[in-house]
């Protein structure tokens, strides 16, 4: 019979302390890069950020000044094109999975969406190249939009599905019981009830692809000049940051930091805009 009255052994106490210590240490080590990255972004970015950066075209090597105005506008254009493709298809697929979610087909679609989420963005880039650039024989904002749109679909589909599944079934029954047709019930009652979550999901997908570089390398391709024609090669902020970062010029490095700061701000603004818009209207808050 072991002696159960003896105190907790010092080995057990020590290993418990070691455990707590290493969990705290792990958390600190994980959070450190975040602080470092944001710190450097602000430190290096703010210094190079000025009105010219936001308003002007890139200058040739050797000349100081210039900016990324064309890349900012180009990014917005490519993202806009991507959203036009990705948001409706993603939300539609999500609705189908949530509201008609029975049977093997839907399980297969759900599974494929999850796997698609893990496909490397560079592979998406090659596919968009083969799909759009090769037949057209030129790079374009449009092909970049296709690449980003494709990347948005699975994310949006899955968040939409999850948000719709959170709507209690009694709400659907209430609407169907009033003799409201299925399509109106889904769009104007179920989707409306889940709208905040669905919009947030779409915005998060937008923010995620906003920083994507690899899929644009051989689709939008980049451009040193103004271009508003979706059928032409177009500059994009992440592409510009990439090519400036790996260049040998200090001035371009500075601009890369400024571009990175703008990119992060764009992403933060996109995400917080949603928070503001969806939290407005006290009506739904009572729910």
């Amino acid at each position: 019979m072991p002696n159960l009255n003896r105190p907790v052994s010092s080995f057990r106490k020590l290993s418990n302390l070691a455990f707590i210590g290493s969990a705290i240490l792990a958390s600190v080590v994980v959070l450190a890069p975040l602080v470092a990255i944001f710190g450097y972004l602000v430190m290096k970015g703010v210094g190079s950020l000025n009105l010219a950066f936001l308003m002007h075209l890139p200058k040739p090597v050797g000349e100081d000044g210039g900016g990324m105005a064309n890349a900012i506008v180009g990014s917005l254009m490519i993202l806009g094109l991507g959203s036009v493709l990705g948001v409706p298809l993603g939300i539609g697929a999500g609705i189908y999975m949530a509201e008609f979610g029975h049977g093997r087909l839907v399980t297969l679609v759900r599974f494929t969406a999850d796997v698609l989420n893990g496909v490397p963005s560079i592979v998406v880039g090659i596919s968009a190249y083969a799909l759009v650039v090769l037949p057209q024989h030129h790079f374009s904002a449009f092909s970049g939009g296709v690449a980003l749109g494709i990347m948005m679909i699975p994310t949006i589909a899955r968040t939409t599905e999850e948000m719709l599944l959170m709507v209690p079934n009694t709400i659907r029954e209430a609407a169907l019981g009033l003799g409201i047709p299925q399509w109106r019930t889904t769009l104007q009652v179920t989707l409306r009830t889940a709208s905040k979550g669905v919009i947030t999901g779409a915005m998060l997908a937008f923010a995620r692809v906003a920083g994507e570089t690899a899929p644009l390398l051989f689709t939008a391709f980049g451009n040193q000049f103004w271009n508003l024609n979706p059928n032409q090669p177009t500059a994009a902020l992440p592409l510009q940051i990439f090519s400036y970062a790996i260049s040998p010029f200090d001035e371009w490095h500075r601009q890369a930091w400024a571009g990175a700061l703008i990119l992060i701000l764009l992403i933060v603004i996109a995400v917080s805009a949603v928070r503001v818009v969806t939290s407005r209207g006290t009506m739904a808050n009572n729910a």
Binding site: A174, G177, L178, G179, I180, V189, M283, A287
Partner: protein, 253 residues
């Protein structure tokens, strides 16, 4: 005005499990009919078959015929949406649309059926809320407050108003008071008493006293079968089936 109902040889399944077995029932217009029975006896499924809500469950199956007024609701040419618009339903738990105001909740059925004329919409919302005895309590906050911000009893009356706004011919109520306190329950019962002057009402309840208080006719279900259907007085005083007697005297279920 209310309509009569005629149910013939109704069978219903969930997957392989049969939940209704050869039900036959004939209900006259402008009467309140209570459906009682132990839980799992199929009484909820039964009313959901009367407005084709049963089939919204993907595993559900059904045979037989249900005639509401002149309309055979399971006839091949009949549209389920049309059926549900003409037959109102109130559910067990109050289920107002959470993102809509009180006004929008009541108007939802009309609006989403394509009816948008402002003046009539206002009038319909007011009359429905008056009928549901909710008008006085909410008239000042109609468009300001969400339907979900009301108390449970008010929510259920809101759901009744919402069902009445599309002017149904028949009103189905699936245990409408089971989630409510006694005072709210009393109000709903008074309401049912008034409702039958204009509508035919079928109400599912697990509460026998409630059935005795509000219903003109009562049907007793057991294991998917309609055991007995008669005037309420007869069911509760001199039932003809032994099983009905056992149930109403509390000997089982």
């Amino acid at each position: 005005m209310g309509v009569g109902i005629e149910v013939n040889n109704l069978n219903a399944w969930f997957g392989k499990a049969q939940v209704l077995n050869e039900v036959n029932m004939k209900i006259g217009p402008n009467a309140v009919t209570a459906v009682i029975g132990p839980s799992g006896c199929g009484k909820s499924t039964y009313v959901r078959c009367l407005n084709r809500m049963h089939e919204t469950n993907p595993d559900a199956r059904l045979t037989g015929s249900v005639k509401v007024g002149e309309m055979e609701i399971y006839a091949p040419g009949t549209d389920a949406v049309d059926v549900r618009r003409r037959i109102g339903m109130v559910f067990q738990k109050p289920n107002p649309f959470p993102t809509m105001s009180i006004y929008d909740n009541v108007a939802a059925g009309l609006r989403l059926n394509g009816f948008t004329r402002r003046a009539e919409l206002d009038a319909a919302v007011e009359s429905s809320l008056r009928m549901a005895a909710l008008w006085e309590e909410v008239r000042d906050v109609l468009k300001k407050k969400s339907g979900a911000s009301l108390s449970g009893g008010q929510q259920q009356r809101l759901c009744i108003a919402r069902a009445l706004a599309v002017q149904p011919e028949l009103l189905l109520m699936d245990e409408p008071a089971s989630a409510l306190d006694p005072i709210s329950t009393g109000k709903i019962e008074e309401l049912i008493f008034q409702l039958k002057t204009k509508y035919t009402v079928v109400i599912v309840t697990h509460n026998m006293q409630q059935a005795a208080r509000v219903a003109d006719y009562t049907g007793f279900f057991l294991m998917g079968k309609l055991i007995e259907f008669d005037k309420t007085e007869k069911i509760f005083t001199t039932p003809s089936d032994k099983r009905t007697e056992d149930y109403i005297t509390g000997r089982f279920g």
